[in-house]
């Protein structure tokens, strides 16, 4: 089936198999590999994107459900080398090791800061609870989130 999706402010079309996820469509059909494919069951958050402005796991959205909708992926945050302040904060804080979870964590942080300008540590913990990182131990990720909030 053919679907039309607005991704990062540009209209796209893709031929999809009816049972495939938005994540697969983004990565394999539309050329947006920033969202990562890991658990495929909503556990790890590596595929987090904004669907009509709401943070979701792209692996749990049927591509057909995104037909006619608006998606923001990690590729849509910065402008070339001009990084989004959340991305810059992750770089500055060294909140990245292997980097696989980073796009999802960045999207979850962007969503958190859109709703809460100065989140408490408990709020940060809750907001990032759906994103798993197996390298950093989260301390530097927390530093990055706090720094991004202050950079506003």
């Amino acid at each position: 089936m053919r679907i039309s999706i607005r991704v990062n402010q540009a209209d796209h079309e893709a031929d999809c198999w009816e049972g495939e996820s938005l994540l697969y469509a983004l990565r394999e059909k539309l050329g947006f590999p920033g969202s990562k494919n890991a658990c495929e069951q909503g556990e790890c958050g590596s595929c987090s994107v904004l669907l009509d402005g709401t943070l979701v796991c792209a692996c749990l959205v049927l591509a057909a459900q995104a037909d006619g909708h608006d998606v923001t992926t990690v590729e849509g945050l910065g402008d070339g080398d001009d990084l989004h302040r959340v991305q810059q904060a992750f770089v500055d804080a060294g909140a990245v090791q292997c980097g696989f979870c980073t796009p999802g964590l960045v999207m979850a942080t962007v969503d958190l800061l859109a709703h809460s300008a100065a989140p408490s540590d408990d709020e940060i913990r809750e907001a990032l609870s759906g994103n798993l990182c197996r390298c950093t131990g989260y301390a530097k990720i927390f530093d990055a989130v706090r720094a991004a909030a202050e950079a506003r």
Binding site: E40, Q41, L60, L62, A64, Q65, D67, G130, N131
Partner: protein, 260 residues
């Protein structure tokens, strides 16, 4: 596979009557896992995301009507949380922000898992499931709606439109045990209210929802009564024995919390 995306409830019901084996998908947090892992390949998928009648909630004559497409994130918001506080508490324990933004109360009912977090808080409020089809509307008490593990009374042409209840306004709470706070399928869960009587319902400890009631004067033996009503199994998440023990402890804690 074919995906049908109706834009009204009427259209959805017509399609469901034409395709009784169609699998409804709302938030996708259960259905997509089955697709991604090759466990389910229905011929027809009925995408309910575009059906406006299923979203939101309303009140009339004291009755609360939660649309089947109401998300856990919606159920956590203050106005609804004040009407069904245990449901809001349960919603906060579901998955992660990403999951709560997509997962729906209607989906939880449709999946009919013994671990469904929305079921115990709805059961203690005597919720009824509104089932609709081209033939009409019927209301089924939640306790009768779920007939077994992942089984319910929905006919092939029916969809869940809403879940309805009269808020008791009784002090109530929800508790859940798992290895961490987020992303947990309940080892056991429990909803308790202390109103005109004591009420409890639990998850992951019986094949279908159970309601345990007792006079308030029986608070001293209520934890034992809840534990006795459970019929849990041993599985990867916990043993039957642990679940019964945990229910006893949680019930006592819930009664303490509600100062019964």
């Amino acid at each position: 596979m074919e995906v049908l995306s109706p834009h009204s409830l009427d259209e959805a019901l017509r399609l469901k009557s034409e395709h009784p084996d169609a699998l409804p998908i709302q938030g996708g947090t259960d259905v997509m896992v089955a697709f991604n892992f090759d466990r389910s390949r229905p011929e027809v998928v009925l995408n309910l995301n575009e059906v406006p009648e299923l979203t939101g909630w309303s009140r009339s004559n004291g009755e609360l009507r939660l649309g089947a497409g109401l998300t856990y994130a919606d159920a956590m918001r203050a106005e609804l949380a004040s009407l069904v506080p245990a449901l809001a508490e349960a919603s906060r324990t579901v998955g992660s922000p990403q999951i709560r933004n997509r997962g729906t109360i209607g989906g939880n009912l449709g999946t009919s898992s013994p671990a469904g977090d929305a079921l115990p808080p709805l059961a203690i409020e005597s919720a009824e499931v509104e089932c609709v089809s081209v033939r009409g509307v019927r209301r089924v008490p939640l306790l009768e709606f779920v007939t077994g593990v992942k089984r319910n009374v929905l006919a092939g042409d029916e969809l869940i439109a809403a879940v309805c209840l009269q808020p008791s306004h009784a002090p109530q709470t929800f508790m859940k045990i798992g290895p961490r706070n987020a992303m947990v399928i309940a080892v056991v869960s429990l909803a308790v209210s202390v109103g005109d009587e004591l009420r409890a319902s639990f998850g992951s400890a019986a094949p279908r929802p159970v309601l345990v009631t007792a006079p308030r004067s029986d608070a001293g033996t209520f934890a034992e009564a809840v534990a006795a009503a459970a019929a849990p199994i041993d599985d990867v998440r916990g043993t039957s024995r642990y679940r019964v023990h945990a229910l006893r402890v949680l019930t006592e804690r819930a009664l303490d919390r509600l100062a019964a």
